[in-house]
Amino acid sequence: MKAFLTVIGRDRVGIIADVSNKLAKNNVNILDITQTILHDYFTMVMFISLENSDMDIASLQAEFADFDKNIEIRIQSEEIFNSMHRL
Protein backbone atom coordinates (compact mmCIF):
# COMPACT_ATOMS: atom_id res chain seq x y z
CA MET A 1 0.00 0.00 0.00
CA LYS A 2 1.26 3.48 -0.87
CA ALA A 3 0.41 6.67 0.98
CA PHE A 4 1.20 10.35 1.26
CA LEU A 5 2.64 11.59 4.53
CA THR A 6 2.33 15.34 5.03
CA VAL A 7 4.18 17.35 7.64
CA ILE A 8 3.17 20.93 8.44
CA GLY A 9 4.44 22.92 11.41
CA ARG A 10 7.02 25.17 13.01
CA ASP A 11 10.47 24.69 11.45
CA ARG A 12 13.30 23.27 13.56
CA VAL A 13 16.48 21.27 13.10
CA GLY A 14 15.98 17.60 12.33
CA ILE A 15 12.34 17.25 11.27
CA ILE A 16 13.19 15.25 8.15
CA ALA A 17 15.68 13.14 10.11
CA ASP A 18 13.16 12.37 12.86
CA VAL A 19 10.35 11.50 10.44
CA SER A 20 12.66 9.37 8.26
CA ASN A 21 14.05 7.53 11.27
CA LYS A 22 10.58 6.61 12.48
CA LEU A 23 9.63 5.39 9.01
CA ALA A 24 12.84 3.36 8.70
CA LYS A 25 12.25 1.72 12.08
CA ASN A 26 8.86 0.57 10.82
CA ASN A 27 10.29 -0.64 7.52
CA VAL A 28 8.42 2.00 5.54
CA ASN A 29 10.14 2.98 2.29
CA ILE A 30 10.30 6.61 1.14
CA LEU A 31 9.64 6.89 -2.61
CA ASP A 32 9.65 10.67 -3.04
CA ILE A 33 10.02 13.84 -0.98
CA THR A 34 8.99 17.44 -1.65
CA GLN A 35 9.75 20.05 0.99
CA THR A 36 9.50 23.81 1.27
CA ILE A 37 8.99 26.63 3.75
CA LEU A 38 5.53 28.10 3.15
CA HIS A 39 4.58 31.29 5.06
CA ASP A 40 7.25 30.45 7.71
CA TYR A 41 5.85 26.94 8.06
CA PHE A 42 7.82 23.83 7.34
CA THR A 43 5.80 21.93 4.76
CA MET A 44 6.74 18.50 3.47
CA VAL A 45 5.03 15.81 1.44
CA MET A 46 6.50 12.30 1.40
CA PHE A 47 5.29 9.54 -0.88
CA ILE A 48 5.79 6.32 1.04
CA SER A 49 5.32 2.59 0.58
CA LEU A 50 4.07 0.35 3.38
CA GLU A 51 4.37 -2.78 1.28
CA ASN A 52 7.17 -4.32 3.38
CA SER A 53 5.98 -2.90 6.68
CA ASP A 54 3.85 -4.62 9.31
CA MET A 55 2.03 -1.33 9.73
CA ASP A 56 -1.18 -0.17 8.13
CA ILE A 57 -1.99 3.53 7.75
CA ALA A 58 -3.94 3.80 11.01
CA SER A 59 -1.21 2.16 13.11
CA LEU A 60 1.54 4.20 11.43
CA GLN A 61 -0.47 7.35 12.11
CA ALA A 62 -0.66 6.31 15.76
CA GLU A 63 3.16 6.01 15.83
CA PHE A 64 3.33 9.74 15.05
CA ALA A 65 0.75 10.74 17.67
CA ASP A 66 3.33 12.21 20.08
CA PHE A 67 5.83 13.35 17.46
CA ASP A 68 5.94 17.12 18.16
CA LYS A 69 3.10 19.29 19.40
CA ASN A 70 4.10 22.08 16.99
CA ILE A 71 4.03 19.82 13.96
CA GLU A 72 1.05 18.13 12.37
CA ILE A 73 1.63 14.86 10.60
CA ARG A 74 -0.95 12.97 8.62
CA ILE A 75 -0.86 9.87 6.51
CA GLN A 76 -3.46 9.22 3.83
CA SER A 77 -3.81 6.46 1.27
CA GLU A 78 -2.73 7.58 -2.21
CA GLU A 79 -6.15 6.49 -3.48
CA ILE A 80 -7.91 9.62 -2.22
CA PHE A 81 -5.54 11.90 -4.16
CA ASN A 82 -5.64 9.75 -7.27
CA SER A 83 -9.43 9.72 -7.27
CA MET A 84 -9.77 13.48 -6.72
CA HIS A 85 -7.03 14.70 -9.06
CA ARG A 86 -6.66 12.05 -11.80
CA LEU A 87 -9.13 10.68 -14.30
Binding site: F4, T6, D32, T34, T36, T43, V45, F47, D56, I57, A58, Q61, R74, I75, Q76, S77, E78, E79, I80, F81, N82, S83, M84, H85, R86
Partner: protein
Protein backbone atom coordinates in the same frame (compact mmCIF):
# COMPACT_ATOMS: atom_id res chain seq x y z
CA UNK B 1 2.44 11.23 -9.89
CA UNK B 2 0.39 13.44 -7.61
CA UNK B 3 2.14 16.74 -7.03
CA UNK B 4 2.63 18.88 -3.94
CA UNK B 5 -0.15 21.35 -4.85
CA UNK B 6 -2.71 18.60 -5.35
CA UNK B 7 -1.93 17.04 -1.98
CA UNK B 8 -2.13 20.48 -0.41
CA UNK B 9 -5.46 21.26 -2.13
CA UNK B 10 -7.11 18.13 -0.75
CA UNK B 11 -5.79 18.80 2.76
CA UNK B 12 -7.00 22.41 2.62
CA UNK B 13 -10.45 21.19 1.54
CA UNK B 14 -10.66 18.82 4.51
CA UNK B 15 -9.06 21.11 7.13
CA UNK B 16 -10.37 24.56 6.25
CA UNK B 17 -13.33 24.08 3.95
CA UNK B 18 -15.23 21.34 5.79
CA UNK B 19 -15.00 18.74 3.03
CA UNK B 20 -16.41 15.50 4.36
CA UNK B 21 -18.49 12.49 3.54
CA UNK B 22 -21.77 13.53 5.10
CA UNK B 23 -23.14 10.04 5.46
CA UNK B 24 -22.54 6.39 4.71
CA UNK B 25 -26.01 4.88 4.89
CA UNK B 26 -26.52 1.13 4.90
CA UNK B 27 -29.87 0.15 3.42
CA UNK B 28 -31.20 -3.08 4.91
CA UNK B 29 -34.22 -4.86 3.47
CA UNK B 30 -36.62 -6.09 6.13
CA UNK B 31 -39.08 -7.91 3.85
CA UNK B 32 -37.89 -11.27 5.19
CA UNK B 33 -38.72 -10.13 8.76
CA UNK B 34 -42.51 -9.81 8.34
CA UNK B 35 -44.57 -12.09 10.56
CA UNK B 36 -48.17 -12.42 11.68
CA UNK B 37 -46.84 -11.92 15.21
CA UNK B 38 -45.55 -8.37 15.77
CA UNK B 39 -43.29 -9.63 18.54
CA UNK B 40 -41.62 -12.16 16.24
CA UNK B 41 -41.29 -9.58 13.47
CA UNK B 42 -39.61 -7.12 15.87
CA UNK B 43 -37.14 -9.79 17.05
CA UNK B 44 -36.26 -10.63 13.45
CA UNK B 45 -35.84 -6.94 12.59
CA UNK B 46 -33.53 -6.39 15.57
CA UNK B 47 -31.49 -9.48 14.75
CA UNK B 48 -31.14 -8.70 11.06
CA UNK B 49 -30.07 -5.07 11.59
CA UNK B 50 -27.58 -6.04 14.31
CA UNK B 51 -26.10 -8.74 12.07
CA UNK B 52 -25.85 -6.72 8.86
CA UNK B 53 -24.71 -3.47 10.47
CA UNK B 54 -22.54 -4.97 13.21
CA UNK B 55 -19.32 -3.56 11.70
CA UNK B 56 -20.80 -0.52 9.92
CA UNK B 57 -19.41 2.05 12.34
CA UNK B 58 -16.00 0.44 12.94
CA UNK B 59 -15.34 -0.20 9.24
CA UNK B 60 -16.33 3.35 8.36
CA UNK B 61 -13.94 4.60 11.04
CA UNK B 62 -11.16 2.55 9.42
CA UNK B 63 -11.94 4.20 6.08
CA UNK B 64 -11.79 7.61 7.75
CA UNK B 65 -8.34 6.82 9.12
CA UNK B 66 -7.03 5.36 5.90
CA UNK B 67 -8.09 8.27 3.68
CA UNK B 68 -7.93 11.03 6.28
CA UNK B 69 -11.46 12.11 5.37
CA UNK B 70 -14.19 12.50 8.00
CA UNK B 71 -17.35 10.42 7.60
CA UNK B 72 -19.68 12.54 9.70
CA UNK B 73 -22.63 10.14 9.96
CA UNK B 74 -23.06 6.40 9.82
CA UNK B 75 -26.70 5.60 9.30
CA UNK B 76 -29.16 2.88 8.40
CA UNK B 77 -32.21 2.97 6.18
CA UNK B 78 -34.76 0.15 6.14
CA UNK B 79 -37.77 -1.05 4.18
CA UNK B 80 -40.81 1.18 4.86
CA UNK B 81 -42.03 -0.29 8.14
CA UNK B 82 -45.68 -0.01 7.06
CA UNK B 83 -44.96 -2.84 4.58
CA UNK B 84 -43.61 -5.06 7.36
CA UNK B 85 -46.08 -4.08 10.08
CA UNK B 86 -49.01 -4.81 7.72
CA UNK B 87 -48.35 -8.54 8.04
CA UNK B 88 -48.76 -8.31 11.83
CA UNK B 89 -52.12 -6.48 11.55
CA UNK B 90 -51.23 -4.16 14.43
CA UNK B 91 -53.27 -1.09 15.32
CA UNK B 92 -50.24 0.61 16.79
CA UNK B 93 -46.82 0.22 15.16
CA UNK B 94 -44.82 1.91 17.94
CA UNK B 95 -43.35 -1.45 18.98
CA UNK B 96 -41.55 -1.57 15.61
CA UNK B 97 -39.98 1.84 16.28
CA UNK B 98 -38.83 0.61 19.68
CA UNK B 99 -37.19 -2.47 18.10
CA UNK B 100 -35.49 -0.26 15.51
CA UNK B 101 -34.25 2.10 18.25
CA UNK B 102 -32.79 -0.80 20.19
CA UNK B 103 -30.96 -2.01 17.07
CA UNK B 104 -29.74 1.52 16.22
CA UNK B 105 -28.28 1.87 19.71
CA UNK B 106 -26.71 -1.57 19.59
CA UNK B 107 -24.81 -0.90 16.34
CA UNK B 108 -24.05 2.73 17.27
CA UNK B 109 -25.44 4.59 14.24
CA UNK B 110 -26.44 8.27 14.32
CA UNK B 111 -29.89 7.79 12.80
CA UNK B 112 -32.09 5.03 11.42
CA UNK B 113 -34.68 5.96 8.80
CA UNK B 114 -37.61 4.01 7.44
CA UNK B 115 -40.46 4.30 9.92
CA UNK B 116 -42.30 5.13 6.73
CA UNK B 117 -45.40 4.64 4.64
CA UNK B 118 -46.01 5.18 0.93
CA UNK B 119 -49.58 6.38 0.53
CA UNK B 120 -49.47 8.51 -2.63
CA UNK B 121 -52.50 6.77 -4.05
CA UNK B 122 -54.21 5.00 -1.19
CA UNK B 123 -53.86 4.05 2.45
CA UNK B 124 -53.89 0.41 3.56
CA UNK B 125 -54.77 -0.53 7.16
CA UNK B 126 -51.05 -1.14 7.77
CA UNK B 127 -50.19 2.36 6.45
CA UNK B 128 -52.90 3.91 8.63
CA UNK B 129 -51.59 2.12 11.73
CA UNK B 130 -48.07 3.30 11.05
CA UNK B 131 -49.09 6.90 10.42
CA UNK B 132 -51.15 6.95 13.63
CA UNK B 133 -48.10 5.70 15.55
CA UNK B 134 -45.66 8.33 14.26
CA UNK B 135 -46.12 10.90 17.07
CA UNK B 136 -45.66 8.32 19.82
CA UNK B 137 -42.82 6.57 17.96
CA UNK B 138 -40.84 9.79 17.46
CA UNK B 139 -41.48 10.97 21.01
CA UNK B 140 -40.29 7.73 22.62
CA UNK B 141 -37.25 7.07 20.41
CA UNK B 142 -34.14 9.11 19.79
CA UNK B 143 -32.58 7.83 16.58
CA UNK B 144 -35.60 6.85 14.49
CA UNK B 145 -36.70 8.96 11.52
CA UNK B 146 -40.03 8.79 9.78
CA UNK B 147 -41.30 9.73 6.34
CA UNK B 148 -44.60 9.52 4.47
CA UNK B 149 -44.94 9.81 0.69
CA UNK B 150 -48.25 11.52 -0.06
CA UNK B 151 -47.96 12.24 -3.77
CA UNK B 152 -46.22 11.44 -7.02
CA UNK B 153 -46.16 12.66 -10.60
CA UNK B 154 -47.80 9.42 -11.74
CA UNK B 155 -50.43 9.12 -9.01
CA UNK B 156 -51.27 12.70 -8.11
CA UNK B 157 -51.64 13.88 -4.53
CA UNK B 158 -53.50 11.90 -1.89
CA UNK B 159 -55.24 14.77 -0.07
CA UNK B 160 -56.68 12.40 2.56
CA UNK B 161 -53.08 11.70 3.54
CA UNK B 162 -52.15 15.39 3.32
CA UNK B 163 -54.96 16.22 5.73
CA UNK B 164 -53.89 13.47 8.08
CA UNK B 165 -50.23 14.53 8.00
CA UNK B 166 -51.14 18.08 9.06
CA UNK B 167 -52.63 16.58 12.21
CA UNK B 168 -49.71 14.18 12.70
CA UNK B 169 -47.13 16.99 12.45
CA UNK B 170 -49.03 18.90 15.13
CA UNK B 171 -49.27 15.82 17.36
CA UNK B 172 -45.52 15.25 16.97
CA UNK B 173 -44.93 18.85 18.06
CA UNK B 174 -47.22 18.52 21.06
CA UNK B 175 -45.80 15.18 22.22
CA UNK B 176 -42.29 16.65 22.23
CA UNK B 177 -43.29 20.13 23.43
CA UNK B 178 -40.82 19.83 26.33
CA UNK B 179 -37.95 19.36 23.82
CA UNK B 180 -38.63 22.25 21.41
CA UNK B 181 -41.03 19.99 19.44
CA UNK B 182 -38.05 18.04 18.10
CA UNK B 183 -40.28 15.14 17.02
CA UNK B 184 -41.16 17.14 13.89
CA UNK B 185 -37.46 17.41 12.94
CA UNK B 186 -37.46 13.63 12.47
CA UNK B 187 -40.51 13.55 10.18
CA UNK B 188 -40.59 14.30 6.44
CA UNK B 189 -43.64 14.43 4.18
CA UNK B 190 -42.64 13.66 0.58
CA UNK B 191 -43.91 13.91 -2.95
CA UNK B 192 -41.96 11.64 -5.36
CA UNK B 193 -39.86 10.12 -2.56
CA UNK B 194 -36.74 8.32 -3.81
CA UNK B 195 -35.89 4.76 -2.83
CA UNK B 196 -32.16 5.16 -2.33
CA UNK B 197 -31.90 8.37 -0.30
CA UNK B 198 -28.98 8.28 2.17
CA UNK B 199 -30.01 11.51 3.93
CA UNK B 200 -32.19 11.90 6.99
CA UNK B 201 -34.86 12.30 7.99
CA UNK B 202 -36.26 10.96 4.70
CA UNK B 203 -34.15 7.85 4.15
CA UNK B 204 -35.79 4.49 3.56
CA UNK B 205 -34.90 1.50 1.41
CA UNK B 206 -37.37 1.15 -1.44
CA UNK B 207 -39.02 -2.07 -2.53
CA UNK B 208 -36.91 -2.30 -5.70
CA UNK B 209 -33.64 -2.32 -3.79
CA UNK B 210 -31.32 -5.20 -2.84
CA UNK B 211 -30.90 -6.89 0.52
CA UNK B 212 -28.04 -4.74 1.79
CA UNK B 213 -26.95 -1.60 -0.03
CA UNK B 214 -24.45 1.18 0.67
CA UNK B 215 -25.59 4.68 -0.32
CA UNK B 216 -23.29 7.62 0.26
CA UNK B 217 -24.00 11.33 0.56
CA UNK B 218 -21.12 13.74 0.00
CA UNK B 219 -20.94 17.34 1.00
CA UNK B 220 -18.82 20.40 0.55
CA UNK B 221 -20.55 23.80 0.42
CA UNK B 222 -17.39 25.31 1.94
CA UNK B 223 -15.22 23.94 -0.87
CA UNK B 224 -17.49 25.44 -3.54
CA UNK B 225 -17.59 28.79 -1.75
CA UNK B 226 -13.79 28.92 -1.45
CA UNK B 227 -13.43 28.11 -5.15
CA UNK B 228 -15.77 30.97 -6.06
CA UNK B 229 -14.02 33.41 -3.68
CA UNK B 230 -11.03 33.29 -6.01
CA UNK B 231 -13.16 34.52 -8.95
CA UNK B 232 -14.72 37.85 -7.88
CA UNK B 233 -14.99 39.21 -11.42
CA UNK B 234 -15.81 36.05 -13.37
CA UNK B 235 -18.95 35.68 -15.50
CA UNK B 236 -21.70 33.28 -14.44
CA UNK B 237 -20.63 30.82 -17.13
CA UNK B 238 -17.14 30.77 -15.66
CA UNK B 239 -18.57 30.29 -12.17
CA UNK B 240 -20.63 27.34 -13.42
CA UNK B 241 -17.48 25.76 -14.85
CA UNK B 242 -15.65 26.17 -11.53
CA UNK B 243 -18.57 24.67 -9.59
CA UNK B 244 -18.60 21.68 -11.95
CA UNK B 245 -14.87 21.06 -11.47
CA UNK B 246 -15.20 21.31 -7.69
CA UNK B 247 -18.25 19.05 -7.60
CA UNK B 248 -16.34 16.52 -9.70
CA UNK B 249 -13.52 16.31 -7.16
CA UNK B 250 -15.89 16.11 -4.20
CA UNK B 251 -17.93 13.36 -5.84
CA UNK B 252 -14.89 11.32 -6.84
CA UNK B 253 -13.94 11.26 -3.18
CA UNK B 254 -17.49 10.11 -2.34
CA UNK B 255 -17.33 7.41 -5.01
CA UNK B 256 -14.06 6.10 -3.57
CA UNK B 257 -15.49 5.94 -0.05
CA UNK B 258 -18.73 4.34 -1.30
CA UNK B 259 -17.01 1.55 -3.25
CA UNK B 260 -14.59 0.89 -0.42
CA UNK B 261 -17.38 0.84 2.19
CA UNK B 262 -19.47 -1.55 0.07
CA UNK B 263 -16.46 -3.84 -0.34
CA UNK B 264 -15.46 -4.06 3.32
CA UNK B 265 -19.07 -4.38 4.49
CA UNK B 266 -19.90 -7.06 1.92
CA UNK B 267 -22.82 -5.01 0.60
CA UNK B 268 -23.94 -3.81 -2.80
CA UNK B 269 -22.78 -0.34 -3.82
CA UNK B 270 -26.00 1.59 -4.40
CA UNK B 271 -25.48 5.22 -5.28
CA UNK B 272 -23.61 8.41 -4.54
CA UNK B 273 -25.96 11.29 -3.76
CA UNK B 274 -24.55 14.44 -5.39
CA UNK B 275 -25.42 16.88 -2.70
CA UNK B 276 -24.37 20.13 -1.18
CA UNK B 277 -25.49 19.55 2.38
CA UNK B 278 -24.81 22.43 4.77
CA UNK B 279 -24.23 22.32 8.52
CA UNK B 280 -24.72 25.13 11.04
CA UNK B 281 -20.92 25.56 11.17
CA UNK B 282 -19.48 28.77 9.75
CA UNK B 283 -17.97 28.07 6.32
CA UNK B 284 -20.34 25.19 5.52
CA UNK B 285 -23.31 27.11 4.15
CA UNK B 286 -25.20 26.87 0.84
CA UNK B 287 -26.62 30.38 1.43
CA UNK B 288 -23.08 31.75 1.57
CA UNK B 289 -22.32 30.27 -1.86
CA UNK B 290 -25.31 32.16 -3.27
CA UNK B 291 -24.06 35.32 -1.56
CA UNK B 292 -20.56 34.73 -2.96
CA UNK B 293 -22.20 34.60 -6.40
CA UNK B 294 -23.34 38.17 -5.86
CA UNK B 295 -26.48 38.31 -3.72
CA UNK B 296 -26.34 40.64 -0.74
CA UNK B 297 -28.50 38.26 1.27
CA UNK B 298 -29.92 34.84 0.47
CA UNK B 299 -33.66 35.20 -0.10
CA UNK B 300 -33.53 38.44 -2.05
CA UNK B 301 -34.29 38.82 -5.78
CA UNK B 302 -31.97 36.62 -7.86
CA UNK B 303 -31.84 33.85 -5.25
CA UNK B 304 -33.88 31.32 -7.24
CA UNK B 305 -31.79 31.89 -10.38
CA UNK B 306 -28.50 31.62 -8.50
CA UNK B 307 -29.65 28.44 -6.78
CA UNK B 308 -30.86 26.94 -10.07
CA UNK B 309 -27.43 27.46 -11.60
CA UNK B 310 -25.61 26.12 -8.54
CA UNK B 311 -27.81 23.03 -8.37
CA UNK B 312 -27.41 22.27 -12.06
CA UNK B 313 -23.64 22.76 -12.05
CA UNK B 314 -23.24 20.47 -9.01
CA UNK B 315 -25.12 17.72 -10.84
CA UNK B 316 -23.24 18.22 -14.12
CA UNK B 317 -19.88 18.08 -12.35
CA UNK B 318 -20.80 15.20 -10.11
CA UNK B 319 -22.53 12.88 -12.52
CA UNK B 320 -19.38 11.93 -14.41
CA UNK B 321 -17.46 11.35 -11.18
CA UNK B 322 -19.64 8.48 -9.99
CA UNK B 323 -20.64 5.22 -11.66
CA UNK B 324 -24.11 5.29 -10.03
CA UNK B 325 -25.79 8.52 -9.06
CA UNK B 326 -29.08 8.73 -7.21
CA UNK B 327 -30.76 9.76 -3.99
CA UNK B 328 -31.86 13.37 -3.78
CA UNK B 329 -28.84 14.80 -5.64
CA UNK B 330 -28.90 18.57 -5.39
CA UNK B 331 -28.29 21.47 -3.04
CA UNK B 332 -30.14 21.30 0.27
CA UNK B 333 -31.68 24.35 1.86
CA UNK B 334 -32.55 23.35 5.44
CA UNK B 335 -33.02 26.64 7.25
CA UNK B 336 -31.92 25.67 10.76
CA UNK B 337 -28.91 23.73 9.46
CA UNK B 338 -27.34 26.55 7.44
CA UNK B 339 -25.84 29.59 9.15
CA UNK B 340 -26.43 31.80 6.09
CA UNK B 341 -30.10 30.76 5.90
CA UNK B 342 -30.54 31.33 9.64
CA UNK B 343 -29.16 34.87 9.36
CA UNK B 344 -31.25 35.63 6.25
CA UNK B 345 -34.44 34.34 7.90
CA UNK B 346 -33.68 36.32 11.04
CA UNK B 347 -33.25 39.48 8.95
CA UNK B 348 -36.70 38.83 7.46
CA UNK B 349 -35.28 38.58 3.92
CA UNK B 350 -35.63 34.82 3.54
CA UNK B 351 -39.34 34.04 3.85
CA UNK B 352 -41.41 30.88 3.60
CA UNK B 353 -42.74 31.97 0.20
CA UNK B 354 -39.22 32.56 -1.18
CA UNK B 355 -38.12 29.19 0.15
CA UNK B 356 -41.06 27.63 -1.67
CA UNK B 357 -39.88 29.22 -4.92
CA UNK B 358 -36.34 27.98 -4.27
CA UNK B 359 -37.59 24.42 -3.86
CA UNK B 360 -38.71 24.47 -7.50
CA UNK B 361 -35.08 24.41 -8.63
CA UNK B 362 -33.19 22.37 -6.03
CA UNK B 363 -33.52 19.40 -3.76
CA UNK B 364 -35.57 18.97 -1.68
CA UNK B 365 -38.19 21.22 -0.17
CA UNK B 366 -39.25 23.22 2.83
CA UNK B 367 -36.72 21.79 5.22
CA UNK B 368 -36.17 22.40 8.94
CA UNK B 369 -38.43 25.40 9.13
CA UNK B 370 -39.61 26.48 12.59
CA UNK B 371 -43.03 28.15 12.66
CA UNK B 372 -45.25 29.42 15.49
CA UNK B 373 -46.65 26.70 17.77
CA UNK B 374 -50.12 28.04 17.12
CA UNK B 375 -49.97 27.12 13.39
CA UNK B 376 -53.08 25.02 12.67
CA UNK B 377 -53.09 21.49 11.27
CA UNK B 378 -54.99 22.76 8.19
CA UNK B 379 -52.35 25.40 7.48
CA UNK B 380 -49.61 22.76 7.76
CA UNK B 381 -51.61 20.53 5.39
CA UNK B 382 -51.94 23.48 3.00
CA UNK B 383 -48.16 24.02 3.05
CA UNK B 384 -47.61 20.28 2.44
CA UNK B 385 -50.10 20.32 -0.47
CA UNK B 386 -48.40 23.34 -2.09
CA UNK B 387 -44.98 21.78 -1.84
CA UNK B 388 -46.25 18.41 -3.12
CA UNK B 389 -47.87 20.17 -6.09
CA UNK B 390 -44.48 21.64 -7.07
CA UNK B 391 -42.94 18.18 -6.95
CA UNK B 392 -45.82 16.50 -8.75
CA UNK B 393 -45.95 18.96 -11.67
CA UNK B 394 -42.18 19.27 -12.08
CA UNK B 395 -41.44 15.54 -11.75
CA UNK B 396 -39.06 16.08 -8.87
CA UNK B 397 -38.83 15.17 -5.22
CA UNK B 398 -40.20 17.75 -2.83
CA UNK B 399 -40.66 17.47 0.89
CA UNK B 400 -41.82 19.31 3.97
CA UNK B 401 -40.08 19.12 7.33
CA UNK B 402 -41.77 21.83 9.33
CA UNK B 403 -41.70 22.32 13.09
CA UNK B 404 -44.55 24.17 14.80
CA UNK B 405 -42.67 24.86 18.03
CA UNK B 406 -45.17 24.69 20.86
CA UNK B 407 -45.10 27.79 23.05
CA UNK B 408 -43.01 29.85 20.64
CA UNK B 409 -43.93 32.67 18.32
CA UNK B 410 -42.40 34.92 15.68
CA UNK B 411 -39.42 36.71 17.24
CA UNK B 412 -38.41 33.68 19.31
CA UNK B 413 -35.59 31.28 18.49
CA UNK B 414 -35.41 27.55 18.77
CA UNK B 415 -32.26 25.47 19.29
CA UNK B 416 -32.30 21.78 18.32
CA UNK B 417 -28.57 21.26 18.82
CA UNK B 418 -25.99 19.37 16.78
CA UNK B 419 -26.46 19.06 13.03
CA UNK B 420 -30.13 20.06 13.36
CA UNK B 421 -28.96 23.55 14.35
CA UNK B 422 -31.11 26.47 15.43
CA UNK B 423 -33.62 28.73 13.77
CA UNK B 424 -35.78 31.80 14.20
CA UNK B 425 -39.53 31.18 14.25
CA UNK B 426 -40.68 32.23 10.77
CA UNK B 427 -44.05 33.88 10.14
CA UNK B 428 -46.71 31.83 8.33
CA UNK B 429 -49.44 33.24 6.09
CA UNK B 430 -52.49 32.64 8.24
CA UNK B 431 -55.26 32.94 5.60
CA UNK B 432 -57.41 29.85 6.07
CA UNK B 433 -57.30 26.85 3.69
CA UNK B 434 -59.56 24.78 5.94
CA UNK B 435 -62.32 24.29 3.36
CA UNK B 436 -59.85 23.21 0.67
CA UNK B 437 -58.12 20.68 2.95
CA UNK B 438 -61.39 19.33 4.37
CA UNK B 439 -62.60 18.37 0.87
CA UNK B 440 -60.00 15.54 0.98
CA UNK B 441 -59.96 13.04 -1.92
CA UNK B 442 -57.20 12.98 -4.53
CA UNK B 443 -55.69 15.55 -6.85
CA UNK B 444 -55.41 13.72 -10.18
CA UNK B 445 -52.00 13.10 -11.77
CA UNK B 446 -50.93 15.99 -14.00
CA UNK B 447 -50.48 16.04 -17.76
CA UNK B 448 -46.96 15.25 -18.88
CA UNK B 449 -47.25 17.21 -22.12
CA UNK B 450 -48.36 20.78 -22.95
CA UNK B 451 -45.67 21.94 -20.50
CA UNK B 452 -46.34 25.58 -19.78
Amino acid sequence: MINFNEVNETIQMIDNQHLDVRTVTMGISLYDCADSSAEKACTRIYDKICKRAEHLVSKCENIEKSYGIPIVNKRISVTPIAHIASASRVNDATCFAVALEKAAQEVGVNFLGGFSALVHKGITPGDAALIRSIPEALATTEHICSSVNIGSTKAGINMDAVKEMGLIVRQCAEKTADRESIGCAKLVVFCNAVEDNPFMAGAFLGCGEGDCVINVGVSGPGVVKCALEKMPDASLGELAEEIKKTAFKITRMGQLVATQAAKVLDAQFGIVDLSLAPTPTMGDSVAHILEEMGLSTCGGPGTTAALAMLNDAVKKGGVMASSYVGGLSGAFIPVSEDIGMINAAEAGILTLEKLEAMTCVCSVGLDMIAVPGSTSAETISGIIADEAAIGMVNSKTTAVRIIPVIGKNVGDRVCFGGLLGEAPIMPVNSASCEKFISRAGRIPAPLQSLKN
